[in-house]
Amino acid sequence: MKNRLLKLWHQDGTRSVMASVLSILAGLVAGSLIILIVGICNPTLGLKSVWDGVRLIFGGLFATGRNAAGALTFGFNPASVGNMLFRATPLILTGLSVAVAFKTGLFNIGAPGQYLAGTAATLFIALSIPSSVVPPQIIWFLAFFGGMLAGALWGAIPGMLKSLLNINEVLACIMTNWIAANLVTWVFDISNLKNVVENTKSGYIYKTTFNNVATSKLGLDLIFHDSQVNGGIVVAAILAIIVYIILTRTTFGYQLKACGSNRFAARYAGIKDKRNIVLSMAIAGSLAGAAGSLYYLSGNTEFFWSTYQSLPATGFNGIPVALLAANHPIGVIFTGMFMSMLDISGLQMTNLTAYNEYITDVIIAVIVYLSAFSLLIKTLLGHRRAHKTDAPLKNPDPDGTQADSKADGKEALKA
């Protein structure tokens, strides 16, 4: 048993997880340190508020407010957990988008643009088809797939520029992001979907519920009262599993990864690298599009249409989600939830203390910074492994001990 655990420990995946966990812990500690420094430098905040802030950084999800004595209380907070799941939905999908592109050796910084393209297509379809003629469920499906398709098309543009004209995909993505931001503003500017019924909502598009279209709650709202949770999180998880299957169990996925490892070797092996780059970006785009689509199909979110000066942060936050998961599609589900949990912690921080939610963005940045050299952390973790496995390698018996230990490792993982 101990042997098996040891082998599990020595798996590459385990070390990836360990590296990520270490990065997360370091990020949280860094955030706490900043709070400590600010608290000490600013006498009006004081040490008590530092203690509150640090507790919220680590357990903001479970904060339930303050009691009569003014002390923080903790416990199961259904609204927070539900909102965490709701906010995780687009993060998981943009994270998947970035991860898929990474697997093909592309840095998809274009997720914000694809997210906007998906949002626009979804809102147009969901609000333009009258629900009195077509059943809302069918409109929902049309809107969702329309959003994915729009995202895919928008993602395919930098893909084609990269593969056909050899334009740096980072640059092409940045340009298409801003073009998308302006185009979306333009189409909504001339559309008749601007919310003119509620005059407090100037600058916003109608909610999809104006046309009776909304993602089914699937009963999740019964568990998490007073939260925005809906079936979108399930859709996101299913998409993550589909991506995982495509990447690990199909020839197509193998070809994508081969292009990522070495484009020229892949071409030599007869893989159509240019086609694969475009397809990879299209898939990435469709996932980012789905993120926007699900976020605005929830029925309780409104889209601020005059967005030409800013790009949606959800798109950029896909990058840390993917990096933290080491680009593993299943891992993305968990890191996406972790990121949205930090979001909730930040909100609680703003509500309950003198600090504000931007400290969680600092934490995310520190985590990404550390994950930039996660390879180094992995090697450091692996150092101990090298010492321990030295012994069997020195074994004079050349019966392929290494191959055996690998097979054992796999079994250990299954068990």
Partner: protein, 358 residues
Amino acid sequence: METLFENLTSGSMVFLIRQTLIYAVPLMIVALAGVYAERSGVINLALEGIMIFGAFIGVLFVRLVQQWGWFDAVKAADNWVGLQGFMLMTMAVAAILGALFSLLLAFAAINLRADQTVGGTALNLLAPALVLFLIRLIANQNTLQMATGDSASWFMLKKSMFGYGRTDEVGFLFDTFVNKVYLATYVCILVFIIMSVILYCTRFGLRLRSCGENPQAADSLGINVFKMRYAGVTISGALAGMGGFVYALTTTNCTSNGDVAGFGFLALAVMIFGNWKPLSVAGAALLFGLFKCIAASYGSLYVLNGAGEQIYFLKDLGINTNFYRLLPYLITLIVLAFTSKSSRAPKAEGIPYDKGSR
């Protein structure tokens, strides 16, 4: 002929040139920042983040000095030499802090051999987060402003400073290039020229560039690749930090809100567009600045016809505002599509230097 001359010296033209310079100059200087880092072999995706940080530091410095009251007397006496000196000092502070901030990237990329794209992304996430966190604590809102007045009343060059009255007519050249212009614009152009000369005409510049092309060969000739790359990234950080403050000063009225409207990324585009060469970078920045300026103010641009009437030709076309807004980005993509074949990035950029590899 006369109409042409009148057109070239009209109020519209003065406005166009001024505005184009305002957009082009921060782009130019930050693109040069990118050139320095990449020519030394490190991809600096963090330009945006460093700009945001530099803008914040600059505005904070102005605010603090104003609050200490050091420059109130100078301002009251309208001593413009003192005020411009104050502005130059702020630019220097933004540059120094920008350089310090960029050390984070240098450490990760050079010492720890981390993925430079990811490291840069981390800085891009860190800067707005940290800046907004602090702004909220300092100002209790999402924007940090000057303590008193606005950037125009404090730092702009005005004709009154040169002995002209408020209603005096001044020549076209004076009106375009001196009146209501920030001295920072010219300081940036000067710095741009000096840094370009350093990159191309000095031993240091040659050594720096060699580290981005073939670090192994450079090392074999006794050049310390690590030091050179540190120099490249630090200079890059200083230029980007300064550019960030100049952006905040000239386009957002000396305020900081954790955002520079994607200028850092645009500078990256300008750098690639300009093929990593200072002169082409300057040209690309001017082109981009011109289109940015048209997008912001196409409605008020006019030409004079033979009868001396003002024709608002762009407004009369009746094209949607949003089209002009997306034009700079679209044109960059199209031009890149045509020029990408001749694009030549520094050979060793993005590859951590490893003494042992061949």
